[in-house]
C-alpha cells in the first residue's frame, strides 16, 4: 500500500500534534492558564530565573507537569510495545496484553493492594513504590512463564506462546476478579482505579522508572528495525537473511515486559493504545519499522495525552478513568478497521 503521506510531512504533522497535545495537557484544568503564564511557570520549574504567579507555578510543577510527562512516557511506551508485539507475532492485530504482561502486572498490583489492606494499609510514603514494584514483577513473571511455555528445543514457537499468553491472561483476570469479590469498599475502589487506568495522582516518584524504561526502548528498538521488517517475512526467511531471530525475539519479549509492566505500574491498565497507534501509523507511513517505530512513539504519546485531556473535561469536575476513554475511542475504531479490512480482502 502507498503511504498516505510523505515521510517528512508525516513526521512534521506528528510533531505538531504532540506539541498541541502537550500544550492542552498542561493548560486544561480547573485553573485556566494562558500560554505566557504556562511558559513562565515551566521555565521557573526548570530553575530558570523567570517569575510566574506562585499558584500557577505550583500547579504546573506539582500537578500538571508530572501528569503530562507520565502520559507522554506511558503513551509512547505502550505504542512501542504494540509495535514490538505486532512484529513478533507477525500479526497487525496483536496486542501487548496478549502475552499476559498487562494482566500479570495488574495482578501484581492488586495483590499488593489487598495485602496492604489486610495489614491495615500501606504506608503512604511507600505505597507508590511497592505498587509499582509488584506490578512490574507480576508482569515480568507472567511474561517469563509464557516465554518458557512457548519455548521448545531452544526456539520460540509463537503459536504456543500466544495461546499460553491468552490462558495466563485469563487466569490472572480471574484472580483479580476474585480479589475484587473479596475486597472491602475502599480496596475495591483502588482496584478499580488500577484496572481502568488513570494518570490522576501522578508524581515524580511514579514517573522515574517509566522514563527509564522509555529511554531503554527508544535506544534498543530502532536497532532492530530492519530485523523486524525481515521477521514479517517469516522466521526462517529472516534467519536466511542473517537476522539473529532468537536474540531478536528474546529482546522483544523482554522490552515489552519491561515497557507494559512499567506503564501498568505507573498508571494502571490502559488498553488499545498499543493496538491502535501502530495500526494507524502503518496506514499513514507503511509497515517499514524504520519509520514505524519513531512515528508510533510520537503518536502514542499524543494520543494518550489527548485521551487524558478528554478524561479530565468530559465530566468535570469529576474525572473519567483514562482506560475508559481509550476503550471508548479505540474499540469502535478497531471494529471499523476489521470491517474495512474484511471488505478489502
Amino acid at each position: 500500500m502507498k503511504p498516505l503521506l510523505s515521510r517528512r510531512l508525516a513526521f512534521v504533522l506528528l510533531g505538531v500534534l504532540l506539541l498541541l497535545a502537550l500544550w492542552l495537557s498542561l493548560s486544561v484544568g480547573p485553573v485556566a492558564m494562558d500560554v505566557a503564564t504556562l511558559l513562565r511557570a515551566l521555565a521557573a520549574t526548570l530553575g530558570m530565573p523567570l517569575q510566574a504567579p506562585e499558584q500557577a507555578q505550583l500547579i504546573v510543577a506539582q500537578i500538571r507537569l508530572p501528569r503530562t510527562l507520565l502520559g507522554l512516557a506511558a503513551g509512547g511506551v505502550l505504542a512501542l510495545c504494540g509495535v514490538a508485539m505486532q512484529g513478533l507475532f507477525r500479526n497487525p492485530l496483536a496486542d501487548p496484553g496478549l502475552i499476559g504482561v498487562s494482566s500479570g502486572a495488574a495482578l501484581g498490583a492488586a495483590l499488593m493492594i489487598v495485602l496492604g489492606a489486610s495489614l491495615g494499609g500501606l504506608a503512604p510514603a511507600w505505597s507508590p513504590y511497592l505498587l509499582s514494584l509488584s506490578a512490574f514483577a507480576g508482569g515480568l513473571l507472567v511474561t517469563a512463564l509464557v516465554y518458557r511455555l512457548g519455548r521448545r528445543q531452544g526456539r520460540v514457537d509463537v503459536a504456543t506462546m500466544l495461546l499460553a499468553g491468552v490462558a495466563l491472561a485469563a487466569l490472572a483476570g480471574a484472580m483479580i476478579g476474585l480479589l475484587q469479590y473479596l475486597a472491602d469498599d475502599a480496596t475495591l475502589r483502588t482496584l478499580t482505579f488500577w484496572n481502568l487506568g488513570s494518570l490522576n495522582g501522578a508524581s515524580y516518584a511514579r514517573l522515574w522508572p517509566l522514563l527509564l524504561v522509555a529511554a531503554l526502548l527508544l535506544w534498543r528498538l530502532p536497532r532492530w528495525a530492519q530485523g523486524l521488517n525481515a521477521l514479517l517475512l517469516g522466521e526462517s526467511e529472516a534467519r536466511h537473511l542473517g537476522v539473529d531471530i532468537e536474540q531478536l525475539k528474546r529482546q522483544l519479549i523482554l522490552l515489552t515486559a519491561l515497557g507494559v509492566g512499567a506503564a501498568v505500574a505507573a498508571c494502571g491498565m490502559i488498553g488499545f493504545v498499543g493496538l491502535m497507534v501502530p495500526h494507524l501509523m502503518r496506514l499513514l507511513l507503511g509497515p517499514d519499522h524504520r519509520s514505524l517505530i519513531p512515528a508510533s512513539m510520537l503518536a502514542g504519546a499524543s494520543l494518550l495525552l489527548l485521551a487524558d485531556v478528554l478524561a479530565r473535561v468530559l465530566i468535570a469536575p469529576a474525572e473519567l478513568p483514562i482506560g475508559v476513554v481509550t476503550a471508548l475511542l479505540g474499540a469502535p475504531f478497531f471494529l471499523y478497521l476489521l470491517i474495512k479490512g474484511r471488505a478489502h480482502a
Binding site: G234, R239, V243
Partner: protein, 255 residues
C-alpha cells in the same frame, strides 16, 4: 559450493533421509525430483541449516554450515521457501530490498540491484505495487527477485536453494523463471531447485537428483536419470521417453 556427506535426517522421530551425499557445484543447476513425501523439502531444510542432521555433515565452501556467522552465511546462501506468509502491506520494492539486508552496499547500489533482480524475475512492472494486492504467482516472482537480490550479481561460492519456485506460475513464467535461474547460475552460483515437472527439470537442469523414499535413486545428467525404469519405480508412472525435437533433452510422456 555446498556439500553434504552421509546425511541422515528425521522429522518428529521419523527418518526421512538416509545416507545421502551430494555436492552442489559452482555454476550448475541441480534439480531435485521425487514424489510427495520423498524428502525433498526436508533435504532443503537441512542444506540451509533449518534442520539439524541426525548424522552426516553439511558444508558451505568447506566450512560446516553451523560454523558460519549468520550474516556472512546470508551473503552466500539464499533460500526461497515454498510459500511466504507476509501479511503486511509492504511495496514490492521494499520486499525485494529486504534481500539486501545482509549487505552494507548503500542505498543507491541496493536500489539498482532491486531493479535488476526484479527485471530478472520478470517482475519489474510490479514496482511500487502493494505486495498484498498481488496474485500468488506474482508474489512468487517477487520473492524470487528478493533471493536473487540477496546474492546479486551471483558469484562462484554462492548457493541458491529454491523450493518449487514454479508451483503457482503460468507456463510462460515457469520458463521465464527457470531461464532467469539458469542465467543467474551462469555467473557462478550453485543452484538447487525442487521441481515437480519432469520436463522442466529435463530442460533446465544440468544434473538431476531423483529421490525415492529418502534415498538417492539416481543422480546424474537428465539423460542418465530420466529413464523409463527410474520414473516407473519412483513415481509408479509408466512413461514413454522421447527427446525434445529442438533441444535434444529428454522428454517424458506419460503413457
Amino acid at each position: 559450493m555446498l556439500e553434504c556427506q552421509h546425511l541422515a535426517l528425521a522429522r518428529g522421530g521419523q527418518r526421512i533421509i538416509e545416507d545421502l551425499s551430494l555436492s552442489l557445484r559452482d555454476g550448475e543447476v541441480l534439480a531435485v525430483l521425487g514424489p510427495n513425501g520423498a524428502g525433498k523439502s526436508t533435504l532443503l531444510a537441512a542444506l540451509c541449516g533449518e534442520l539439524a542432521p541426525l548424522g552426516g555433515s553439511v558444508q558451505l565452501a568447506g566450512r560446516a554450515l553451523s560454523a558460519w556467522p549468520a550474516s556472512e552465511r546470508a551473503q552466500r546462501l539464499a533460500v526461497l521457501p515454498q510459500q511466504s506468509s507476509l501479511s503486511f502491506a509492504f511495496s514490492v520494492d521494499e520486499v525485494v530490498g529486504m534481500g539486501r539486508l545482509p549487505h552494507a552496499s548503500g542505498q543507491q547500489r541496493d536500489a539498482a540491484i532491486v531493479h535488476e533482480a526484479l527485471q530478472a524475475a520478470d517482475a519489474a512492472h510490479l514496482r511500487g505495487r502493494n505486495y498484498l494486492e498481488l496474485s500468488g504467482g506474482e508474489r512468487q516472482r517477487v520473492h524470487l527477485a528478493r533471493v536473487l537480490a540477496q546474492l546479486w550479481p551471483g558469484a562462484a561460492g554462492q548457493v541458491l536453494l529454491l523450493d518449487e519456485p514454479t508451483s503457482m506460475l503460468d507456463p510462460l513464467h515457469q520458463h521465464v523463471t527457470l531461464n532467469a535461474v539458469r542465467r543467474f547460475s551462469a555467473a557462478g552460483a550453485a543452484v538447487m531447485v525442487i521441481l515437480h515437472d519432469l520436463n522442466l527439470a529435463a530442460r533446465f537442469a544440468d544434473r538431476i537428483l531423483l529421490l525415492h523414499q529418502g534415498r538417492a535413486q539416481a543422480l546424474g545428467t537428465p539423460h542418465e536419470v530420466l529413464t523409463e525404469a527410474n520414473v516407473l519405480q519412483v513415481f509408479e508412472l509408466p512413461v514413454i521417453l522421447s527427446q525434445h525435437p529442438e533441444l535434444g533433452c529428454p522428454w517424458v510422456i506419460p503413457r
